[in-house]
Subunit: 93 residues, 7 copies
């Protein structure tokens, strides 16, 4: 199991589907967001007074994130992306 | 449904109309603002003490925003723009 | 009506008059300030503790501002400039 | 009358005199300070908690300031310089 | 013994194993994270009010960290890496 | 008399002596510190809450400072250097 | 005697020994840390509220520091390095 630190989030990419209900990024966009599923979240950002500001995303959330954000890694045979919560644009409700 | 995170706002672009009451951006402007309708807003910016500072714009507001701000995305067949509230210049009242 | 957000201010440019009482920017200045009339002001800057710091300029103030500051826009047939209060140098009393 | 905003100060340049009591900037200095008389001061810097931190310089002070600081403007036929108080190096007592 | 200062952490690199349970960084990743074992931690980050914010990682934690983070050093014949806790991406639980 | 503003300090350079008790900067150093005598100090840095944090150096202190820091000026026929206290490295006790 | 200001520390370099107990920096490291002995420490960093945050290193500590940090100076015939505490990586216990 991977436990992200601080305000980091681990995401499993979801292939972009071309169905009516999916998110489809237009080909011409310069900075394409991508879609994924949150698999682990850090405890949150530690403020200067020592208090912890919990994250807004939680495990199993479907999210849209900036394309070039974060670092890719492989764990137990699967590909993940680890990024900061601020690189996540929106939750797909 | 797309729920933006933090101080992000989702906007649907509105075509610039050339009527007397519409916003018309002069052609020669280097950095042209654009017009849109707010479709979803985040909960607000989280300050260092953990408190949440709510956004000033709300759903259905008509707004003027910086042209190159934000990230474009398509959801359920429609084009949206997701940007930070600070990239919004003014509300059209 | 345009309602600026936060610490933004909407200004209508005033042509520089060459009378003794007007502000005349020397031709050789690298960074020429310009003169305008405030037509709308935002509610102010939101500090990190959530309090709002009201602006010092108000509607109808005549102001001098940095030449290249802000974004130009046209509304109901008139040209305006929208900029942050910090780009305003002085009020003409 | 020009009323500077925030931590800005309006200065009238004073020609550098080559007398024993004047400030003479050495010709070889890369970044030459200059001398002037304060003609108007802003109310001060607004801190994040909304309090105002008054300026240390006041009208009629003779000051030394950084050469390339600020913006030049002409008002009622006179040339002035408007700069931030932090660009003022010292008061000539 | 080496005692890191502040928010610094000393890590002993662990060779990337190609077993199913290990972390395998894909060859094509631009910015490859790496795996290590924490051997010493600083007392934490000192906040502006003087309080100390303890680190989240502790000795013997297995961690994933950014490839080019930190400074390499040799101590008593062994190679270590000293980096800031913020360069650590996740703990392997 | 020159009264520096804020956290600024006015220094009179002292020639580097090559005696055993003097500070001798090695010729090969890329960034050579220099030696001087403090002739005037500002009231201190004004913190965001309006309180003033007094300086640690005082008049007549002999100090070592960064070579390229500050601005040179001439006053009543003498050469001085005006710099921020943070550019002073150490007091020679 | 040299008394460093604020969060500065004066260090006397210690030659890297190639014994088993010494720190040996690998030749290939891009950014080699170095070893030294602390000879003087400043009173600490002055926080924005005026309180002083004392340093963690003390006189006689053996420390490892970043190679290109700080400024070299000679005092009473000896070579020293003056740097900020944040450039010190670890104390050798």
């Amino acid at each position: 199991m991977l436990k992200p630190l601080g305000d980091r989030v681990i995401i499993e990419r979801v292939e972009e589907e071309k169905t009516a209900s999916g998110i489809i990024v237009p080909d011409s966009a310069k900075e394409k967001p991508q879609q994924g599923r949150v698999v682990a979240v850090g405890k949150g950002r530690v403020a200067d007074n020592g208090s912890v500001i919990a994250l807004d995303v939680k495990e199993e959330d479907k999210v849209v994130f900036q394309k070039y954000a974060g670092t890719e890694l492989k764990h137990e045979g699967k590909d993940y992306l680890i990024l900061r919560e601020d690189d996540i644009l929106a939750i797909i409700g």
